[in-house]
């Protein structure tokens, strides 16, 4: 009887698990299968070619450059978003006059689709007709219009900034949820002990917020790593492939050049990357938690 009781929860999640495995698993199986085939541009499989698609991808300098840029893109966007979102969430968590309005303003970019945001920025950043240059010139900050998207380095920087902007609402929401669940009595107790606000932040807020920060990191990394619209709309990965990240390069390969086999290989590589990151990260977090638990028990 005991062992059956142990099996029960597993049995109960089995249907859900099977469905999830099917929904996630089938596309991955299909991708894996396609990536080992020669594929015509009309999606017809022309025969097994082993790892040729992967070999071609790995020998392509544009793939490595895109991979490199993907890492920069993901790390800078996610880190900056976290660093900016935490103070915003702290401020919005305090009770002040007009907090509702402030929250709405912060959340507003979230309500607009990514593609639309990117289109608006593309217009605003236009060299001769763009709003940003017009504003800067009216304010006397610049004399000549700046061509924001003409050169890869500046364009990529601008795209990262837009990426941060659109990631803030989601991250702030996670943090706000976390902050509202923190126990008030810890703060009251620390105040009795004479803790400053910085002490409170350092020793109460931050440690208690850890699970929320972790989930924000994992989810943001996945979203940002796979995010196509901003870069695609603003520069299409150009000029001279200078702003291509893996997902934009993949899109070009698949839907412009019709190389579905190579595109499938890159998709699989990207999936592997994210899976590996998530596993390592979650393992690190869990080990960290276990260690703190033991320390606390020792005390």
């Amino acid at each position: 009887m005991k062992s059956l009781d142990g099996m029960k929860p597993l049995l109960m999640i089995l249907p859900g698990l099977a469905l999830a495995m099917f929904i996630i698993g089938y596309p991955i199986y299909d991708l894996g299968f396609t990536s080992l085939q020669e594929v015509s541009r009309f999606g017809k499989l022309l025969g097994f070619v082993g790892f040729d698609n992967f070999r071609e991808v790995f020998s392509d300098p544009l793939f490595w450059a895109s991979l490199n840029r993907t890492v920069i893109w993901t790390v800078t966007v996610v880190l900056s978003t976290l660093i900016i979102s935490l103070p915003i969430a702290l401020i919005l968590n305090d009770d002040f006059y007009g907090r509702g309005l402030a929250r709405v303003i912060i959340m507003l970019p979230w309500a607009v689709s990514l593609t639309m945001t990117a289109v608006v920025w593309r217009w605003a950043l236009n060299g001769r007709a763009g709003l940003l240059n017009a504003t800067l010139m009216n304010m006397g900050l610049i004399d000549e219009p700046i061509e924001w998207l003409a050169e890869a380095q500046l364009a990529f920087t601008v795209e990262i900034l837009v990426g941060i902007l659109v990631s803030i609402p989601f991250t702030t929401t996670i943090f706000l949820g976390g902050l509202s669940s923190l126990p008030r009595d810890s703060y009251e107790a620390s105040m009795v002990d004479g803790a400053t606000r910085w002490d409170q932040f350092r020793h109460i807020t931050l440690p208690l917020m850890k699970p929320f920060i972790n989930i924000a990191i994992v989810l943001n990394v996945i979203y940002v790593f796979n995010s196509l619209p901003i870069i695609w709309v603003m520069t299409e990965g150009g000029p001279a492939n200078g702003t291509d990240i893996l997902v934009t390069y993949l899109y070009k390969l698949a839907f412009r050049f019709g190389q579905l086999g190579e595109a499938a290989a890159i998709s699989l590589i990207m999936f592997g990357f994210l899976l590996l990151f998530t596993i390592i990260y979650v393992a690190l977090v869990m080990r960290g938690e276990r260690q703190t638990d033991t320390i606390e028990e020792d005390e």
């Binding site: 009309f42 060299g127 150009g238 000029p239 019709g258």
Partner: protein, 408 residues
């Protein structure tokens, strides 16, 4: 009870109609139409209705698909075994369709008289390995537009050669607030903007032996000239931030003296900048007269079961009365001799300006992996505009990459 009776009557009438409809129209021809403008769908419905009136046993089923999703749509239809019987496609895709055995050669259907209605130049791109794989359905050629007011203000003469364009652009950039020449540097057809210069300098995209023509002296000269004009401030700065549409906007705003463009810009100018004083001219020449001809193809699917009926409709739709309506409505150049001979195409100075280049029109080669080759070219051109490479090294590198894509 009355409403019920009415309904019953209506339903039975409908059923009867449907039944009789089915009995009369024994065969259905599925026709996928690319949407050029909001006029495209209604136009083809009208042709189909007129055809069905004459041939009550054939039903033409028109489906209008936007250009952006057309290839993807046909791909899925073909993969799913639900391909149409005939479709409008971009001629640049024709080779892929032909190689995969999806396109039906039309030589056997094409009577000599029908074949003779087409202008030969536009027939050429549809010929693959000696077989005609489709019919030209729409055509446009490119030309140069100059802003006559800017030219007058700077005291420059409208150019016919690259030297003259260079001098005129210099004058305009110095004498007026505008830039002499608009240079496209990003997104769709950035490579075409370079081919304009390449062709008129006597070069070509591919050499006789099928290898890339980018490592030739003509290509080097063509790109060096663009770079020189950019460096000397004769073009707008930072071309890599200007797509085709951005460039057209500059021209509409009177900020550039000359651009290279297609006929569809004319209605835009008339609507958005009616005061703009422009003139359509042929591309400036260095050694060779040339323009870029672009065609779309009407293709028949090899898997179709109703080829005879489909062909009957095609012959009907190519009658002069219908072609005139289509070409004028969409702003295209005529692909048939009958329409080309009409007064409109010789007297309207804008259309005549674009049509003038047709005898020496060049086409994008029908070769495999064309999009990828175009992308390599765009990258080379952008590197030069961005000072990341010299014209010579960028072109040599691009030629090597193109040759390796082509397996040469």
């Amino acid at each position: 009870m009355t409403p019920n009776k009415k309904t019953t009557l209506a339903v039975s009438t409908l059923a009867l109609l449907a039944w009789s409809g089915a009995a009369l129209a024994e065969t259905t021809v599925d026709f996928t139409v690319a949407e050029y403008s909001s006029k495209t769908g209604p136009y083809f419905e009208e042709v189909a209705a007129a055809f069905e009136a004459e041939n009550p046993d054939i039903d033409i089923n028109i489906e209008v698909v936007p250009w952006d999703t057309l290839l993807q749509r046909l791909t899925t239809d073909i993969a799913g075994g639900a391909a149409p019987d005939i479709s409008i496609i971009g001629t640049r895709w024709l080779l892929d369709f032909a190689e995969q055995g999806i396109a039906e050669p039309v030589d056997d259907y094409l009577t000599p008289e029908f074949k003779d209605t087409f202008i030969d130049t536009f027939m050429a791109p549809s010929v693959i390995d000696g077989q005609i794989m489709g019919l030209p359905v729409a055509a446009s050629a490119r030309a140069m537009l100059i802003n006559k007011d800017l030219y007058a203000e700077a005291g420059a003469t409208p150019p016919t050669t690259w030297d003259e364009l260079y001098e005129a652009s210099k004058k305009i950039s110095e004498e007026t607030d505008a830039f002499g020449f608009g240079l496209q540097g990003k997104e769709i057809e950035t490579d075409a903007y370079f081919y304009y210069s390449l062709w008129t300098h006597g070069g070509d995209i591919l050499k006789e032996d099928g290898t890339s023509g980018l490592d030739t002296p003509a290509a080097l000269e063509a790109l060096t000239l663009y770079k020189k004009m950019l460096d000397e401030g004769l073009t707008q700065p930072s071309p890599t931030n200007y797509s085709r549409e951005d460039l057209f906007n500059l021209f509409k705003q009177g900020q550039v003296g000359a651009v290279f463009t297609f006929p569809m810009l004319i209605p835009q100018i008339q609507a958005e900048a009616p005061d703009l004083n422009y003139e359509v001219m042929e591309f400036p020449v260095a050694t060779t007269k040339a323009t870029y001809g672009v065609t779309d193809t009407l293709m028949m699917f090899a898997d179709s079961d109703v080829k005879e009926e489909a062909w009957k409709f095609i012959e009907f739709a190519y009658k002069d009365e219908w072609r005139t309506k289509f070409d004028r409505g969409e702003g295209f150049l005529p692909v048939t001799k009958g329409v080309a001979a009409e007064d409109y195409y010789t007297t309207d100075k804008d259309i005549a300006g674009f049509a003038a280049g047709l005898p020496h029109a060049k086409f994008a080669p029908t070769i495999a992996n064309w999009e990828e080759i175009a992308d390599v070219t765009v990258r080379a051109v952008q590197k030069v505009y961005l000072d990341q490479a010299t014209p010579e090294s960028a072109l040599t590198e691009a030629a090597e990459q193109i040759n390796s894509i082509r397996g040469k």
